[in-house]
Symmetry: C2
């Protein structure tokens, strides 16, 4: 069992990583302050893990479950309202604790519901996908999508605890495991060069789901993310580097329709684009771009723009992304392996070239 703390003053919280946690109340109970609990999960995860989690929560006088439909397409205000419906119908009060059991979509919606219900209640993350384990469960970003933009409606709301049980990865579809690996590789690229080399060497073992290799990668990603978040909780500056590949990736998701490309799949292609753009700026050489492409290929991830998507439609979509400040397009690029930078002044034509070099029309 590994334990690390996300240091955010009064909002600090632990991430506990290990296996066999789900049915074991001793990890969970110290972080539930009232006598009411509501588990938010989805129709895919519930049959796998809900019974075990409920087992750990015997003895609460109010234990309710909200089962959401599965997928990014349902990450919206209407679905969010279903959580509020249950909380109010079952009369949960301000002392309730919401537990997110699922991937990033469940975590983001449950967290946002916890941020808004009666202006803020406790919540706990129990992530069940690699992507959620290494990314969305750390950092306090919560929210839903709007038809005109991803994660445009949300709040910063820190969990009280993140309980990362690597057992849940055994049932994860291969496609989602790969999508999660895109975010794992991201940490190597933006801030942890030795980890990038480690991933390169251990990629096949990660794909084989060797527990100790997975646990190591998860812990290292969480530590990297926790460090970045602790330095900039509300994304005034440095925290933006975590969005490496995401501005391009969000454009892919938005144009293809949420859910057709998994988030991590879109980020994978987006990272190649960001790397190619960094190369065009003269900051990194082609060898690194090729190494990334090679890793993504082994992981079964796309390294190119979706078929038929034009460079112009990328730019169109990106201009509504949150990373646009007063009309300037803010991009996260690399100045070297392991060193991300925030760049405001990339010429439009250079962005178009990078996109075309990555298969955009």
């Amino acid at each position: 069992m590994q334990r690390l703390n996300v240091e955010l003053g009064a909002r600090s919280y632990p991430i506990i990583i290990g296996s066999g946690f789900l049915g074991a109340p001793q990890q969970l109970l110290p972080y539930i302050h009232g006598r009411q609990v509501c588990i938010v999960t989805n129709e895919t995860v519930a049959p796998l893990y809900l019974a075990k989690l409920i087992e750990a929560l015997q003895g609460f006088n109010k234990l309710d479950v909200v089962e959401l439909p599965d997928g990014e397409a349902f990450k919206n205000l209407d679905t969010l309202n279903r959580i509020f419906d249950v909380l109010l119908e079952k009369r949960h009060n301000r002392t309730t604790t919401l537990i997110a059991l699922g991937g990033g979509v469940v975590g983001d919606m449950c967290g946002f519901a916890a941020a808004c219900y009666q202006r803020g209640v406790n919540f706990i993350q129990v992530p069940t996908t690699l992507l959620a384990l290494v990314d969305s469960s750390v950092g306090g970003k919560t929210g839903v999508n709007h038809p005109l933009g991803k994660n445009m409606i949300g709040a910063f709301h820190q969990p009280r605890l993140v309980l990362a049980d690597t057992d849940t990865l055994n049932t994860l579809p291969a496609r989602e495991l790969s999508a999660g690996l895109a975010e794992v590789i991201k940490y190597g690229l933006i801030c942890d060069k030795p980890f990038f080399y480690w991933i390169e060497e251990n990629l096949q073992r990660l794909l084989n789901r060797e527990p100790e290799v997975l646990a190591y990668a998860i812990e290292r990603c969480c530590r990297n993310k926790a460090d970045v978040v602790a330095s900039d909780e509300r994304e005034g500056g440095r925290r933006a580097i975590l969005n490496f590949g995401h501005t391009f990736g969000h454009a892919i998701e938005a144009v293809q329709g949420y859910g057709n490309w998994l988030h991590g799949e879109a980020v994978a292609a987006g990272m190649v684009m960001a790397l190619e753009l960094s190369r065009l700026r003269g900051d990194i050489d082609n060898d690194l771009v090729e190494r990334l492409r090679q890793m993504l290929q082994i992981a079964g991830l796309s390294q190119r723009a979706p078929v038929g998507m034009s460079a112009a439609s990328f730019l169109q979509s990106m201009q509504i992304d949150k990373k646009v400040l007063d009309g300037k397009l803010r991009l996260i690029l690399l100045q070297a392996l392991g060193e991300a930078v925030i760049v405001d002044d990339t010429p439009r034509e250079m962005i178009m070239d990078a996109l075309r070099n990555c298969g955009a029309e």
Copy 2:
């Protein structure tokens, strides 16, 4: 012109009270940091004041307006989404400033939109009703209603500035002026005995809208509220006294349907109920209850439960109110004039008696 500060550390902000502000940019501009502004108002207020406010905002390269339907019945997630629609269609980014021009409903929804849009943007309150001037524009509570409860979905999000222009009260319907006076009287009851006597003496002048009398009352209410909020920003304890009369009032609003009784009208009747209950507990004498009834009558406000509403339906509705902690009904009562207390242990029968003494069936 009067100016007072709500002291909340990094989230401190000024309340500027005076007249002739709306068309005068010098009060407003220092608090708008970016180059984008979106005014949120409603169909009733817009014809009266929107042009003047827009005049003060010449020179912004992006100035959009969202005009909402008027009334508590529209204070919900669907209406909120109309604000997000405009912000995204018009490509407002994180540096935008939202300005709430209107009463409490507009302020609560605009503030909540500002809290959630891209996880939080600036906002400014320009309240145009007495209720909003003395109550909802101070304290950072924002949110929307749910069919099962008022203000159940929301956030704490402090404005950057509250600009209180007493000129706006000249066009306020008499019914809304009276509803606002209920909250003015509340401050006397809960924390400011000399102010209670002052209101008793000056009630007719307030109803006559004498500008200097109104300005004095607004400033004193805001100061009282600012003191309470500064001591307890997120309502862990003392801040709850601001809800005096509100638990009963919310029950009236919920059972009668939002919008049929104005918020202040429901709070007026709710305050009589809270006072009657305080009397039954032996803490205050009947003289004070009668004096409040007398003041409310002069102000044209109801001092009784709605016709046909039963004591049982009050309790039914109150048990879902946010003030319920782990099954105990938390009420704000008076232990003396000007001294509110939070009470958890009132017997159910005593509450029923107080409600019946106030006309509930």
